[in-house]
Subunit: 436 residues, 4 copies
Amino acid sequence: MSQYFADLQPITFEGRDSTNPLAFRHYDATAMLGDRTMAEHLRFAVCYWHNFVWDGSDPFGGQTFDRPWFPADTMDQARQKADAAFEMFRILGVPYFCFHDHDVRPEGDTLAESHERLNEIADYFEQKMEDGGQKLLWGTANMFSNRRYMSGAATNPDPDVFAYCASTVKACMDVTHRLHGENYVLWGGREGYESLLNTDLDRELEQMGRFLSMVVEYKHKIGFKGAILIEPKPQEPTKHQYDYDVATVYGFLKRFGLEDEVKVNVEQGHAILAGHSFEHELAMARTLGIFGSIDMNRNDYQSGWDTDQFPNSPGEAALAYYEVLRAGGFTTGGTNFDAKLRRQSLDAEDLIAAHVGGMDICARGLISAHAMIEDDALEGPRRVRYAGWEGEAAQAMLAKGATLDGIAADAEARDVNPQPVSGAQEKLENIVNRYL
Amino acid sequence: MSQYFADLQPITFEGRDSTNPLAFRHYDATAMLGDRTMAEHLRFAVCYWHNFVWDGSDPFGGQTFDRPWFPADTMDQARQKADAAFEMFRILGVPYFCFHDHDVRPEGDTLAESHERLNEIADYFEQKMEDGGQKLLWGTANMFSNRRYMSGAATNPDPDVFAYCASTVKACMDVTHRLHGENYVLWGGREGYESLLNTDLDRELEQMGRFLSMVVEYKHKIGFKGAILIEPKPQEPTKHQYDYDVATVYGFLKRFGLEDEVKVNVEQGHAILAGHSFEHELAMARTLGIFGSIDMNRNDYQSGWDTDQFPNSPGEAALAYYEVLRAGGFTTGGTNFDAKLRRQSLDAEDLIAAHVGGMDICARGLISAHAMIEDDALEGPRRVRYAGWEGEAAQAMLAKGATLDGIAADAEARDVNPQPVSGAQEKLENIVNRYL
Amino acid sequence: MSQYFADLQPITFEGRDSTNPLAFRHYDATAMLGDRTMAEHLRFAVCYWHNFVWDGSDPFGGQTFDRPWFPADTMDQARQKADAAFEMFRILGVPYFCFHDHDVRPEGDTLAESHERLNEIADYFEQKMEDGGQKLLWGTANMFSNRRYMSGAATNPDPDVFAYCASTVKACMDVTHRLHGENYVLWGGREGYESLLNTDLDRELEQMGRFLSMVVEYKHKIGFKGAILIEPKPQEPTKHQYDYDVATVYGFLKRFGLEDEVKVNVEQGHAILAGHSFEHELAMARTLGIFGSIDMNRNDYQSGWDTDQFPNSPGEAALAYYEVLRAGGFTTGGTNFDAKLRRQSLDAEDLIAAHVGGMDICARGLISAHAMIEDDALEGPRRVRYAGWEGEAAQAMLAKGATLDGIAADAEARDVNPQPVSGAQEKLENIVNRYL
Amino acid sequence: MSQYFADLQPITFEGRDSTNPLAFRHYDATAMLGDRTMAEHLRFAVCYWHNFVWDGSDPFGGQTFDRPWFPADTMDQARQKADAAFEMFRILGVPYFCFHDHDVRPEGDTLAESHERLNEIADYFEQKMEDGGQKLLWGTANMFSNRRYMSGAATNPDPDVFAYCASTVKACMDVTHRLHGENYVLWGGREGYESLLNTDLDRELEQMGRFLSMVVEYKHKIGFKGAILIEPKPQEPTKHQYDYDVATVYGFLKRFGLEDEVKVNVEQGHAILAGHSFEHELAMARTLGIFGSIDMNRNDYQSGWDTDQFPNSPGEAALAYYEVLRAGGFTTGGTNFDAKLRRQSLDAEDLIAAHVGGMDICARGLISAHAMIEDDALEGPRRVRYAGWEGEAAQAMLAKGATLDGIAADAEARDVNPQPVSGAQEKLENIVNRYL
């Protein structure tokens, strides 16, 4: 058991009036909202990378965090890291966690050694999961940090990198499957380009499509029942990331016939970098039938890079969970905090406090969202606005057999002269604010 | 004949050393580049709206331009406007023009009257086209300026607006067909949303898909041989435009089974607003098989709205036409200047000078692009970079029957350890600069 | 008395649990917060331009609003507009309003006639202000809409425009003085440039400095006791606005020796366009000693133009009023809603509801801010963080006489080896959220 | 002598038609442009940090570059690094270089040891500079990479960090002075804030002002004749950098009475992040009398972080050097390449080729700029545009004694009615293109 968090006790729910910085004010895991508990709605996960791997460095400065398991280049340190991680999961009371292969074990000298180490640490996890009851929300492979991936993973100009990736993803899927992971995620870290001048766009997209198809086939082969998820991001690290946003991923899936096999893991920060609100991306995923899971964080709207901050806007959380609820809530997915401390937040307690704040914001957003749905506060006005389309003649225009010239003739015959009706946006915004 | 351009004479090619501001220095219409003349490569079009309709107003100020045909709310003024337009086409020597219904005639009191007026002005155009030899690159319908479209056109909550649009598009397609237009364009001016709160995303996308399907059917019904083009734009006027970028449009087309029927008209300014380079959008359109035409302009990278300025970067033009040439050049498409004067550029001569400069930049870009292709300057290094993929074993990994575990096993057996190779981006950038 | 708002009744405070969309839930004008009422803290003003002048047009579409006083090109319509305006002030119970000359009367054929009309409408206002008890927060001149200003006002290349502006500003200052306005504002609508190529930067900044100096002198001459305020904005309508942000305005004032004479009117939307948070600009104004007043609205972080939306973020409002309170609260300044309806919000009731929502958000933010100050919730930790600087040796380093080499020698002698301390940003963010 | 660049020969000028990727096509060091050689105009410098320190890592991946002197944590490796650096200066034929203390020697265990090592490497440089004839354009201190600076350098909440900085800057100024550096630069790496919540803005700005004042005093004390330069940057690494842009730095200097003592080192990439064009920042520096030097690179307009790419736009370079020439050319300043390879550009040859391309772009820009000035191509039209201000009456309006009401009375008496004149922006843009 890790001593890293020293005497920090498991966080408990104390209610809105609590001023204890290490208590939940909104997240009451077992409280019911509709037919699910808050824990079942939110399905919180803590990520391994930002919390236990990142050392506080940024492009202008080096390590700021002192973690006893650094530099984590031995298996002993990997276990020490795992001890701290599971200790943190326990303190926070989160049911799930997520990891990359690279987060949990030092890379070996060969592919085979890397996989062995991954399996060894998976054994260690298995025991801890059994002891603590935590589950794996998703596993994934880090195919962007090592220099071998500098020109892409599956989209690399070197076919050996493609082969290396196949081996790596297979190993990570195997481990995810063994640990009963509920999803397997692909984030295309370097699947994109720095410069069109040295990029064969056609070829790279083909490689990526082929790779994903094989991932899906392999999932079925091993009987993995979880979802395969792609995480859209528009740029950074590359100038252009192929999985730009939800709509782009959808087009890609359709092109390769994978739209029923793969869903999306939507991240607030990535949505913002793509010029979208988080709720837009969630609504789009729902509409296109590919909603899977969320990476919860926030991005600074005015910093042009991926800031991965802990969420702190009750309003944004409410609108996000509103779309999650409209999508029917999570099935295999959940709320993973892909959020990192600011590099000046040095203390173990900062790790806990940041998650407590983030979990509370999510809970607060969920409560607001659930109430708005219960009250028909937004759906009522929305139905009224589109009510005209429920009429028979209107429906006929959308039905098979309707023609442009047929509708045109009718419009001219009726000399239609549509009169605008207020969109009432401010009133709706006021309604949302009533629920925050 | 219009007196608006007074004594301005047709612009001629004088060569690079000319200092005449009203002469072409690069655009030599009949000069051959490969197997086409420059005119055939570029297929220049002048647009009606920015040149003859816009009055110089912006969100903070009113009209600055005095045009004798303003306010253009009579048919006489519409004809006066047409006289000036065709006079300008003649002076510039452009082979094509483009227009919206709204640009060329005042709207009538009824749909029927609007269509009559459109047909009346089309008669007038027909005669002028015969006289001057100009052709119609594309026609389109303005379904965003009138208040009836404030909440969308085909995506409007009011089905009567949908019907109104059907009538309008039919009329515009008929006129485009009659005038032998080579394309018909849809730009979704208000097809998008201001606020998700009052928007039914699912329903609106369905409406849009249905509408486009009927447009395609109608095209075939009337025997229109031109291409149907969608023009992507990410935002403005709406907060989110449904036709966000090329990849989004592709996904939309796939969803409604229209990817073989509809292509894209890509605009530099819209690409930039979407966070892409122009050449990215062109390359993506080529890769996805939906490249159609271009709207040439430039956007200020640091102004967050659509500035629609005349192009003035030789480098950007070179990279854009490079992608056009890689796509096989234009078929039905062309280079339409969707560019407007700055509102302080009051004079008739400014209209001419701006186009002369823009045409020259395009010609200069085309010349550079053509030379780079002739010299294999970029394609050579690109082939080398991906040469590994030409090998049999590499090809097998992409072929049917390859499996993730099969490739993984092989990679592990070979203990692949891929070594990165320089991407040489700076050298390639230097090569491009050698051609500018 | 205007019938425009028909049977809408004055808005009253009903408390947090009210679901009445036309009631205040947070703004209780006479409730005390510390030693001031909420009304005294907030000093709400309604602006004339967005509410009574703007017709709903945007760069892609024309008028959407039907207001009975449009097109407001007669004095009768100007009075009808004023009737509606004061009716709205009454319904909302706001103590202040703001206007440009251009908003309140049609321009005359000559300068003299324009001024006469302004004075005539001022008479009309005077009576209404006496009747209703409303006061003028500030007056200003619109020197950007008319085409004469297309190349700038005081910075125009044509000295006659400079002279025209002098006459206009004098007239507006006179009227503001007569109506007991508490401030006079200058927003440099077109004081900036579209292109450096045709701009004489040196000269234009000199013109602007000279003009402002004369404005200040004239203020003293007529005994106007209000503040002269500059409103920073980085861009739009011009590519570069000279009053870019608070820091830029400060440098400009220092350059012309006006830093004790002129303060800033800070707008949320302009702050965001400049890449700053609103609270940054407010804190900077306080630090530099030039805090004056605020234009409250919000900008869409992802739309690159000035969206001037009604504020709707409780958190942003809290942080903004926190800085206002730290600056000592408003003296001559206040909270002016420089916010406009979305162009689809057609109804008179939308005007009221939008302001009710905005006022409530401000009140809510103020209440949170006030409580955080009362509780020393943020200032306590801040003092601790910088406590080291209170020591004598530390103070000596900042005092006159300290030298770089002296401090260096001491540091080397002590072999200082400073150890970082957590910045605890997430904990502080959690604290703020406890107050929302 | 370093073997790192193996058999690469000194780069020579071969003229525009050369296709040799390792030859200058535009930069002919000894060719005269006006009264200076190109070398004297451009005063090229190579920077130490990007070329010899950075290992190719980015926020999503580690080292990609293999340099024989890595990890450079011994003095031997520091000398090996210097060998390679001076070898590169020799191959490129650049007259200048620039460095941070941190770039050239490993930090010691104590301040004293760090300074000793710095002096030791300075000895090594001295010999090399004598041998090769290179000179030091500027020295500077890295006060942002080490974790001690995580919360700022001179603006740190801990006064010991302030003291540490004093010692560090003194040591770097001493070394710069000894090596006859022509400038000393301060870039405020972490002088700014991540969150206003934990920042005492007033205090930090005071600390920064005091620190800079002592730097200036120390400069005079030791008789350093070079310029003290501040390098503006708006954000990154911090959310808000205090030296936001040129105008902000000017205000800061005025506030502390340092505007005659300190100038700016303007970087293209930083200008762009601040929402400005490079030429804007240069023109502003000239106008405000604080133009010093330039950091030449380019930023991707669509990546929101500091990309520090090699310049490759002839047009941007022309407009930048145009402003340099209008400012009278460089005095102590020069053209430092603060540009780094893309992380996929692994080879020693990439380092050379990137600089060759960059130097050529600068030379090309300079040639264009010089010709535009010789031809009065832009200044002629500019003078005409503002000619009205040369009249006596116009001058009187700007002179002492002019009053707002006096000018107003005259304007009204004359009933001025200014008529706009075309700004002709497109024509001017066409002119610039003629020179590219």
